[in-house]
């Protein structure tokens, strides 16, 4: 059996995104007869000529009635080579919030354009959000090639324009695929109407993208979730630190630093229900045993001693505002990073990213829903946190409303200026 790739799709209904996702599911035989029957029934009732594959993905009553997509939906399909988790993010309603959510866990983003329109403002926004969230691979799906007579030159100019733009944003792996989601050309099966295209079909590309970059070049980050102390007859003195490897590799014998307290110790064992391990890869849930009897609890971060996370009490970061409610300057919030939650005060709203022009403006008002900008937070206690650019899994945080628990914003430790703005 193969591995797992998480991807996000971005694009609007008009670009044919739901149809593309429906096509991926349908052509990989991930849609079953009863689901298809339901689609046929509804399509017929609406007087459509053929089955509307978009109906496969619109799950809620309001979506079907209004022909819109409300929220991020997760889809599952697999091929003999790989399994896929697809975050299907709607293009219209609350676009930024949804795409940021979908992109946060994605290793690949599929950005859709209509071949007749080419790269438009929205395409640039999608690419920018993917770059901001650090999605390593981006595939441009140039859809509706049937409506431009499968013209190679139309595809070439769109692909070239997007490639330059995306590389300018710092996305290194970019590919463009000409396709027709409606008819299935180059989605799963190779098109015989675009013989000039010799690249992979979209699915072939999804199957081939490397999932994991070399974990060895990142230092260990292990947020402690839970202290395991059975205090049983069998295990009277057992004390293990449960968590998952956020980045790097945990190895027996490694020197580690417990943050924020700042004590150094050594990993003496890596435990799992299925037996001990010598080393554990990123993403693996394990229990660490340490040489010294230190006071360690949930919220502590176990880091490579040679390269620990930076401790900060003044957090400057880029956030995407996710909630209807706002927070004023000097407002109090909670900041959750890894397993640690600390109180914070909003010191200032610093800059706003104009998502249409990608200009960075000086700004001092509280952010509103779907806005992206930079913020300065003063923390009640030191927080170990990394630079998001180099540590996607330990440089992120949530801002939470202390009173009602609302998730207010998604934060990343990076400066907007680090995002190269192509012109």
């Amino acid at each position: 059996m193969g591995d797992l790739l998480r991807l996000a799709t971005a694009g609007s209904v008009d670009d044919g995104k739901s149809t593309l996702v429906g096509r991926l599911l349908y052509d990989t035989k991930s849609v079953l007869a009863d689901q298809l029957e339901a689609v046929n029934r509804v399509s017929e009732a609406r007087g459509l000529e053929g089955p509307d594959l978009a109906l496969l993905t619109d799950g809620l009553r309001a979506e079907r009635e209004q022909g819109i997509t409300i929220d991020v939906a997760y889809r599952y399909f697999s091929t003999p080579k790989r399994s896929f988790i697809l975050a299907d993010t709607p293009g219209h309603v609350q676009y930024t919030r949804n795409m940021v959510t979908g992109a946060s866990t994605a290793e690949l983003a599929v950005v859709l354009v209509d071949a007749r329109n080419g790269v438009v403002e929205q395409t640039r926004r999608h690419a920018t959000v993917a770059a901001l969230l650090g999605v390593p691979h981006v595939a441009l799906a140039v859809n509706k090639m049937d409506l431009v007579a499968f013209d190679e030159s139309v595809f070439d100019s769109i692909a070239k324009e997007f490639d330059e733009y995306a590389r300018g944003l710092g996305i290194n792996d970019v590919i463009a695929v000409p396709l027709s989601a409606l008819d299935g050309d180059n989605v799963v099966d190779r098109s015989n109407r675009m013989t000039w295209y010799d690249g992979p079909t979209l699915l072939e590309y999804l199957e081939a993208v490397p999932v994991l970059v070399d974990p060895g070049h990142e230092p260990l980050r292990f947020p402690v979730q839970y202290v395991i102390r059975p205090q049983s007859v069998e295990h009277p003195d057992y004390r293990g630190y449960a968590g998952h490897v956020a980045s790097g590799v945990a190895k027996v014998g490694d020197q580690v630093l417990v943050q924020p307290a700042g004590r150094t110790t050594t990993i003496t064992g890596i435990d799992t229900f299925d037996g001990p391990l010598d080393e554990a890869l990123p993403g693996r849930s394990i229990t660490l045993l340490l040489a010294d009897d230190l006071d360690i609890s949930r919220g502590d971060l176990i880091s490579a001693a040679s390269e620990p996370a930076e401790l900060t009490q003044e957090l400057k970061a880029t956030v995407c505002w996710l909630a209807e409610q706002t927070v004023p300057v000097r407002g109090r919030v909670l900041v959750k990073s890894g397993t640690r939650t600390v109180r914070a005060i909003v010191q200032s709203f610093d800059q706003l990213l104009e998502i249409d022009s990608l200009a960075i403006d000086a700004h001092s008002d509280p952010f509103a829903l779907n806005e992206i900008g930079t913020i300065t937070l003063r923390l009640a206690e030191p927080l170990p946190i990394d630079d998001y650019r180099t540590h996607r899994h330990s440089g992120a945080f949530l801002m939470i409303d202390e009173a009602d628990g609302t998730t207010l914003a998604a934060g990343m430790v990076l400066a907007l200026e680090e995002l190269p703005t192509p012109r």
């Binding site: 009863d34 689901q35 799950g59 809620l60 409300i70 959510t101 998952h244 080393e279």
Partner: protein, 306 residues
Amino acid sequence: MTAATTNESTLLSQLDVLESESIHIFREVAGELERPVLLFSGGKDSIVMLHLARKAFWPAPVPFPVMHVDTGHNFDEVIDYRDRTVADLGLRLVVASVQDAIDSGRVRERSDGTRNPLQTVPLLDAIVDNKFDAVFGGGRRDEEKARAKERVFSLRDEFGAWDPRRQRPELWDLYNGRHRPGEHIRVFPLSNWTELDIWRYLQREGIKLPSIYFAHERDVFLRDGMWLTAGAWGGPKGDEAIERRLIRYRTVGDMSCTGAVDSSAATYDQVIAEVGASRLTERGATRADDRMSEAAMEDRKREGYF
């Protein structure tokens, strides 16, 4: 750097990734919430969930009780399995009984005899009575369209209601379990698993299941295109004829609305081959309650269902 390089042997397999993600979710809940409970029906998904919970806290025991919402229309094999598992692992079992709720007048029996929709009231009563603030459910996003939009941590109000428009966005692996008094969080550790993943994992881990998941002969009768088990719950009636057939169950729920499928699959390998080749979803093939309308699951979830 001397660390591992990327090659086949150092990549986590899909099942390893899913397992680690679920364990992470269990530990987040145990670390942040006061009184969790795990819904355990003796069905395959809840069996996988309990297995993952054991892994998450080993060598300590699972630090929360399990709850069964009992419709009273149970398969004997499943109740036996439930009781044996609870005894073997030394767990505390809370039973929320639909029959008790009917007897006390809290809910009324439906004319069609189906009790699945009646589970919501005893479930919510048990959550309030036991002051549970986190409820682990075995729901998977691949099961159903409304479930595809569900969060891993799903906030419910005092009425247990799910409002899809007011869900919290969920980013990275940062889960937000904060809630106000009276609210609780439903947690779905198997969100990203598919039916096939569940079966492959059951096989890989050598987990035993109630025997009704494998092919056996049984007295059944046909209703709404599904084979239902004849039993005290109310079937068959009228001109519904009993037949003895070789069947197995793909899902296990209330007897009155859980259909069996014709099958000769008697081993994990055979079931995995059958599920992989099936042209019907498990709910489409076996659940009368989801056939009631396009939005049957969404409506039940809005009312506080799992």
